[in-house]
Amino acid sequence: MGVRWDAVVSGSRFWAQPEGADAPAPAAGMDAPVSVQVFLFGTLAKATADRPITLALHHPFRIADVMAELGRRYGGEFLSLIAAPNGVKLNHCRVYVNGEPATDPARPIQCGRSSAQIEIILLTAVEGG
């Protein structure tokens, strides 16, 4: 009795992120131009008849950069589908870079090559049951 709730478990690393997961992108290849192919699916595909669309960005780029560029091209209404008014990517907007999920839009992309394929799709917002 009398043990502080938060003192029972201390120092456990069970759920800790593996070391280096959040490490910044390596400096190598900084500012190198990179061609990014963006595939828009579902509702988002209505924005343009092209699939993919090609964006010219600089390495390292972030998903936030891609979102901003798309917003610039297809307008605020498009942007509102993928981001909240404060610019944060909506959770049901799913982005994949070369098949890997990109969860943090602010993280530099480690595509490791001169081109990247980016897929964006909106998933179900609501559910019951």
Binding site: W5, D6, V9, F14, F41, R51, E119, T124, V126, E127
Partner: protein, 867 residues
Amino acid sequence: MNDVTAPTNLAPARDDAWIATSCALCYSSCSILAHRVDGTVVKIEGNPDSVVGKGRLCGKGVSGIMSHYDPNRLKVPLRRTNPKKGLDEDPGWKEISWEEALGEIATEFGRVRAEDPRKLLIQRTTTVTAGRNPLYAFGNAFGTPNYSTAGGGLHCGNGAHLISGIMHASWSVTPDFEYCNYAVYFGASKGHGAGHAATANMKLAADARARGMKLVVVDPMSNFASAKATEWVPLRVGTDGALALALCHVLVNELKIYDAPYLQAKTNAPYLIGPDKRYVRDAVTKKPLVWDAAANAARPYSEANSADMALEGDFAVDGVSCQPAFHKLKEHLRKFTPEWAEGITTVPAANIRRIAGEFGREARIGSTIMVEGVNLPYRPVAAVAFRGAQGHMNSLYNFYAIDLLNELVGASDVVGGCLGFNPACDGFPETGRPHYVPKPDADGLMITGMWMGYHYPYPVGEPRMPQNAGLQDLFTMGMTSPFLDSDDQEALWTQFELPYRPEAMLNFGANLLMSIANKESVARSLAKYKFMVSIDIFETETTRFADIVLPDCSYLQTLDSRSNFPFIFSLPGGMGEWCWPIRQPVLPPEGEQRRFQDVLLELADRIGFRADMNAAFNASLNLAPEQRLQGDRRYTWEEICDAELKTYFGAQRGLEWFKEHGLIKWPKKPEEVYWRPFVDVRVPIYWEFLVPLADKIDAITAPRGLKVPRQYYEPMPDHLPCVSHCCTTPGFDLYAFYYRDTLHTNSYTMENPWLDEAAQLDPYSYTIAINTNTGRGKGLHDGALIWVETETGRKVQGRVKLTQGIHPEGLGIGACAGHWGDGMPVAKGKGVFFNELLELDYNHVSPINLNLDLCARVKVTPVQVRQ
């Protein structure tokens, strides 16, 4: 094999196989073994290898065979010939070929998609959990945000799921049966035949009962859980929140029992609240401030030691006077005295004090226990609510107030406490998948690691001018929306300038006419659809509104790679094993039945969005890079299932492996089950975010004539009455409510003749329960035929069952009975169609989470039998 001397097969080998697959008689999706002999399934038993059901099945599960072989099942595609749609209209079905049916649907849906994909509503039943992904992949690829799940959230958990998500990172909550010593249920029956992980929980609850767990059941009716309870606490319908608030008050203000270290470390209790009801934030980091007693200064919550965070006291930060959230809560609770609650709930004040004391003392605040070698906080009490308590106007606060009991004593996701269903999973050891765990947002509050949809319950979405027909993007605490069917939908759409109108519906197995509210309102909304496709196994009342009906396969004829995933939904909580079963075909389709998954893939091809569909599957199934579906390649449903299974369990464990083994399981770790001490997240005991939310919604709605009722958006829970509580018309003296009958809950089993037979033998399943004394006072007797009528003149007829086990003001009816259609002849005319009593409009739903109120004030009159 190549032995030419062997005799040719004179008699074909006898087919005799036990096939491991999954039930789908309710959303619990228990693992089953289907015994097939010579092409006929002769028995269904629970799969003892599985954690889902633990080798045992409920009555529905063992009876599934009769649903499968029901001769009333649909076998050919049908097209309507009568253009008029209505409750009394005969659709004039004409049998058509699949080619015709699919061609017509592709044309219609193609047109809608070209015009505005949002015009399509995808509607599905909750019964088949695995129906989720293919349908939503279809919808995501199609480009519509409009989904609805049967009566879904309306009838189960716009409150329960939302708050379980915000407070426990899960779809629902359960006592930690293995360790809990004292559980209080509010309108819930976990472990007594209904709810998530229903069958597995029945055993867990029975074990707990045998071990001596005390169970207090708060419910207007003493039926399933109450029958096994240590104590039944009857209360006036819809007042659970008031009782919970009084219990909280007694704990905090009278008994001073609360887990301060938990509140400091794992909730926003120490966050400082200003006069504007908002957090006082750090000027630089924008983080909420706490009062650091060690430093005697306000500091961002992330920079102070939990132990030093003040829970009470008046402070001033930069001239702003503020108090910790807990201080606010404590003061707020003072008005909810047991005496006050007695007047509202009818529960004697002395009982409220006693129960609060028992709960608080049994919480054993400060104690620890070893589980599999890991030392953990031990709080063997749980307050658990579900449909009954939160199915009201006050849905949100009712559930919030009840969960506060857990939060106050630190009994959240720790040993013996109130557990979410598996909110954290470290993954299958070989692949590390699926991996999810709650994480903090910028304010330190918990974001769930896994959800059934992709719009998480927290952080709450930003309200906007609605793009969704259900207006959930305006009322962002809402989940399933009544406005998809309500009487005032057109008025609301006009008022809030919805830029389109729903025109087409794809319905998978939902019987909306019976599962929402009164049938006239729902019928009007259904009749508005220009084109409706219904994929079903029976011609339900709703299917009769469809333009094209497609005969689906039953659960014994279909394939699902995730029959019971996500784990937050219906895998038993607590220690034990993770378990991923599949569903696989045991029998071929009959007639022209086709699996709906194949139909959806085919439609995507025909309409021309296969690439989008592949992308949607990639995203929604979270396929590993090497398993992703490529471009617009055509994949079979088998290939997609195979890709998912390989994603989670490695290349060697694809569909073939699972077909042979049926499931895979691995042990849970204490750090997963009792994750909360290990993960640095806090949950809100003070819902600060509701304050700006109300402003934002109001900014949109007020200029358009709808004032947001602020009392529903206050950051601390309150008792807000239902419409039924405000009725003063003489004669309307009973509160009608429905409950979930073990025999039929979450299913379509009124049509199953074995279950129907059992329900006929049951005293309550098909009758109207009224308190014996109340009933006698009205001159009623068992079996008397009565009308139950609301103030607005909606009425249903049924036979009385007088019982001592119901609140004197209550009138209880088993849910989802009273079919009237000819497509399900066994079900027709059985029981009472409760929902007919429910109004369906803005005034009868919670203005914050859109939960439809399940109770109605009624009067009863004997039916005059014409001689």
